[in-house]
């Protein structure tokens, strides 16, 4: 994208905004935002936390997991050691390096308040931040952004993907971006379209958002031409990096990845899930390089709707469970720790006799991250973001000062 083109786009954007009665200039800050970046990656389909973060030191681990059990650290295909109890799946080499560089915190036996086993309701609760599905049509991250000073005047957050996930929907204005392969529409037609949309507040705003974002990530889009579908997550993260490194760019990005619902032939150190974890790990490694020094201000949070059954099912996979694992990685993270009140994998310790028992409410993590990384006040967290979560105290010292 040439500079000239960018300027013309900017003209169209502001004119479309005028038409829809939102008259603030874009990319202009009333007050400077903090430097902290937060990236949330939603792992849809329920990642098997016991595979990603095997509690190899639990005496019941090998028995309970059967063919899915990984070997001890130090063996070929064995667990990457974190501490005497926990390790990482051998496909997660980059995250392992982060851990030892004090840039990864692993949270285990964690869950939302949801206790059924529907993906769709589970994801709804993961994203709405309340106790039950479908209680509200906005997401916790959007409500948190809405409370930040300056957020009203710009896109404080961006969703990478065709549409905005529930977590990012709500009162705060957010941007959406996804790569495109078609050639540009000529500017005159866009101008006329902006006029045609003038009476339609939704479409005119969407068009303005699209035009603004299109310019920023064009290089990332060109990169994507060369990559296959398997690396799509990596390409999307590259695009996210292009937004996040901008001084006036968004501070929060959300993206999603699917395919964690491993009901059959899940595999252990190799196989289906191992491959997915490898792709994820590689994408995060590239993301870290793309962010350069901004990595030092970044926290990447990986969350999933719930965990999976402890025991293998009849088709060498796992079914929907409860307790899960979550990851917090990045230069801003006070890492090198595993946070878990470990309930154990003995038969009597399991939730409903089948799942890892959750011992930590995920909202404790989310509250801690929002407070320390974005500066969301305790008051807002209780009243606006996680409205019925008073008993859930935020975790402290997740982020470096």
């Amino acid at each position: 994208m040439t500079k000239k083109n960018w300027n013309r786009r900017e003209f169209i954007v502001s004119s479309a905004l005028t038409a829809s009665a939102v008259t603030v200039p874009r990319f202009a800050w009333a007050r400077a935002p903090g430097e902290g970046r937060l990236v949330v990656i939603i792992l849809r389909g329920a990642l098997d936390g016991l595979a990603a973060v095997p509690p190899y030191g639990d005496p019941h681990y090998a028995n309970a997991r059967g063919v899915l059990a990984l070997d001890k650290p130090g063996t070929t295909g064995g667990v990457l050691r974190l501490d005497a109890t926990f390790g990482l799946h051998p496909a997660l080499g980059f995250l392992h390096e982060c851990y030892h560089a004090q840039q990864l915190t692993v949270v285990h036996a964690v869950s939302t308040a949801y206790r059924e086993r529907s993906h769709f309701d589970g994801q709804d609760v993961l994203e709405n931040g309340l106790r039950r599905p479908h209680e509200i049509n906005s997401g916790w991250l959007n409500r948190a952004l809405d409370s930040l000073s300056g957020a009203a005047t710009r896109d404080a957050g961006i969703a990478l993907g065709n549409n905005v996930p529930l977590m990012m929907r709500g009162p705060a204005r957010v941007a959406a971006w996804s790569p495109s392969r078609l050639s540009d529409v000529d500017d005159d037609t866009l101008q006329r379209l902006a006029d045609l949309y003038a009476d339609d507040p939704v479409l005119s705003r969407r068009l303005a958002d699209a035009l603004a974002n299109d310019a920023i990530a064009t290089d990332a889009s060109a990169d994507r031409e060369r990559v296959g579908k398997r690396e799509q997550l990596a390409a999307t993260l590259q695009a996210a990096a292009k937004f996040l490194v901008r001084r006036e760019g968004p501070r929060v990005a959300v993206l999603e990845t699917r395919g964690w619902d491993t009901h059959a032939n899940q595999g252990a150190d190799s196989g289906q899930l191992a491959q997915r974890l490898r792709v994820l790990d590689a994408a995060l490694r590239e993301f870290r390089f793309a962010l350069q020094e901004v990595w030092e201000h970044t926290a990447v949070l990986l969350v999933t709707e719930f965990g999976r059954t402890v025991a293998v099912n009849g088709t060498r996979g796992t079914d929907h469970g409860t307790g899960a694992a979550a990851f917090l990685a990045g230069g801003a993270v006070r890492g090198g720790r595993t946070i878990a009140d470990w309930p154990g994998l003995g038969p009597k310790a399991l939730y409903q006799g089948r799942d890892l028992t959750p011992t930590l409410d995920l909202r404790a993590v989310l509250k801690g991250v929002l407070a320390e990384q974005l500066g969301v006040s305790a008051n807002v967290l209780e009243r606006e973001v996680f409205t019925d979560s008073r008993p859930v105290a935020p975790l402290r010292d997740l982020i470096r000062v």
Partner: protein
């Protein structure tokens, strides 16, 4: 009907991993099926029936992203969905749950009862061989989604025990083509009696004394007629055709029609079409990408003859055929589709399509024919003032009037 020029789409298979080879084998079938689906939707003289086919195929979603489903997703829609769209819900449900695409997608083909004959045999074999026995067991994926997504709906009161028991009911529901199977039957539904968990079972408060295949059929019959199923289906139909949050009165009316007619689908559609509330919404639904592409092609009387290119269109606009990425199917609310990036891609695609057609279509003539009373003065003026035929077509296809559709 004009078919845009076909590109050469032959490509030599390259050697690779076995899975990639399998993918290469299935992919041409998948693309051809997707193209056939597009052409029926664009060329049909009964387009509403095609929209119903897409609706039901999405209600009973499979995903071609799963390798085992890639080559048969089209066959699934043709065999399990299309024949029943003007029939009964029960017949469709039975056809769906016994179709290899669904059994493979939701992993039921190797679900084995822990107390079945096959399980006992496996234990014996392993212990004589002195190996650690791998216990045969169920996979509850199909049972859960059949309750949650296909019939009763989430929150209707069934429990984890119902899911597990129903999974046991469905043990042995498999696909023929394994070792020892009759090759003539390969790729078809196969009930493996020796895998079936024996005994009476209770699902959602009803006791089933039958055994074998009959047991599963009986459960499905009960579920198909349950009031929760009627409400679930009524809500989804009304949401799809009327509004994101459909009027409760309309939903109740459809559910009533469903129950009274024992799930006779034309009776339910009639209730939908005859209800005043169906026609009284102010703002129409934002079209799904598929609906947008099909309606654009229908408006312009063209289709893309190149399979790869028409597939690329669906991919670009965010709705690859039969690939919703989850057994819940594609979402069905405006907010799921009207994101900024999604809208802009439609604009880009509309401009590219308009550029290919150039002056062969006259937007000013098409607009009243395509949009009828929905054609706004603003759109009419914009089309009239466009500086080229291409720009006029782009504005028509990208107009708010064309992006949305009333019921």
């Amino acid at each position: 009907m004009q078919v845009l020029q076909r590109k050469q789409s032959q490509r030599a298979a390259t050697p690779g991993q076995p899975l990639q080879k399998l993918g290469q084998l299935y992919r041409p079938i998948y693309l051809a099926e997707a193209q056939a689906r597009l052409r029926s939707a664009v060329e049909s003289e009964r387009p509403w029936i095609e929209r119903l086919v897409h609706f039901w195929s999405n209600h009973f979603a499979v995903s071609a992203d799963k390798l085992a489903v890639t080559g048969i997703a089209g066959a699934y829609e043709r065999e399990a969905i299309r024949p029943h769209v003007l029939g009964s819900f029960t017949s469709m449900l039975l056809a769906v749950e016994q179709h290899p695409a669904m059994l493979l997608y939701l992993d039921n083909q190797r679900s084995i009862g822990p107390n079945s004959r096959a399980a006992a045999l496996r234990l014996r074999r392993h212990s004589t061989a002195g190996r650690q026995p791998t216990r045969a067991d169920i996979n509850e994926n199909l049972a859960r989604e059949a309750l949650e997504l296909h019939t009763l709906g989430v929150g209707s009161g069934y429990t984890q025990t119902d899911v597990t028991t129903f999974a046991k009911v469905l043990t042995g529901w498999s696909v023929s083509g394994g070792p020892g199977d009759d090759l003539a039957n390969a790729g078809r539904f196969e009930f493996r009696a020796s895998w079936h968990e024996p005994g009476e079972k209770t699902v959602f408060g009803v006791r089933y004394r039958q055994d074998g295949l009959e047991q599963g059929l009986a459960v499905l019959h009960t579920l198909a007629r349950h009031p929760a199923t009627a409400t679930h289906i009524a809500t989804k139909l009304a949401r799809h055709f009327v509004a994101d949050e459909p009027p409760p009165g309309l939903v109740a009316r459809l559910a009533h029609a469903f129950l009274d007619s024992d799930g006779d689908l034309p009776t339910v559609y009639r209730a939908l079409l005859e209800s005043e509330q169906t026609w009284s919404t102010e703002v129409g639904k934002f079209k799904t990408p598929t609906d947008y592409i099909v309606s654009a092609y229908r408006a312009l009387q063209v289709t893309d003859g190149d399979e790869r290119r028409s597939f690329a269109t669906f991919e670009l606009l965010g709705q690859r055929p039969w690939s919703p990425g989850s057994p819940a199917g594609w979402p069905d609310r405006t907010e799921d589709w009207d994101g900024a990036a999604a809208l802009y891609k439609r604009v880009e695609w509309a401009a590219a399509l308009a550029a290919r057609l150039g002056s062969r279509r006259v937007a000013a003539d098409l607009a009243p024919a395509v949009l009828g009373r929905r054609l706004s003065e603003r759109t009419r003026l914009a089309i009239g003032r466009a500086d080229s035929a291409t720009q006029a077509l782009t504005l028509l296809l990208a107009s708010p009037d064309f992006m949305r559709r009333p019921a």
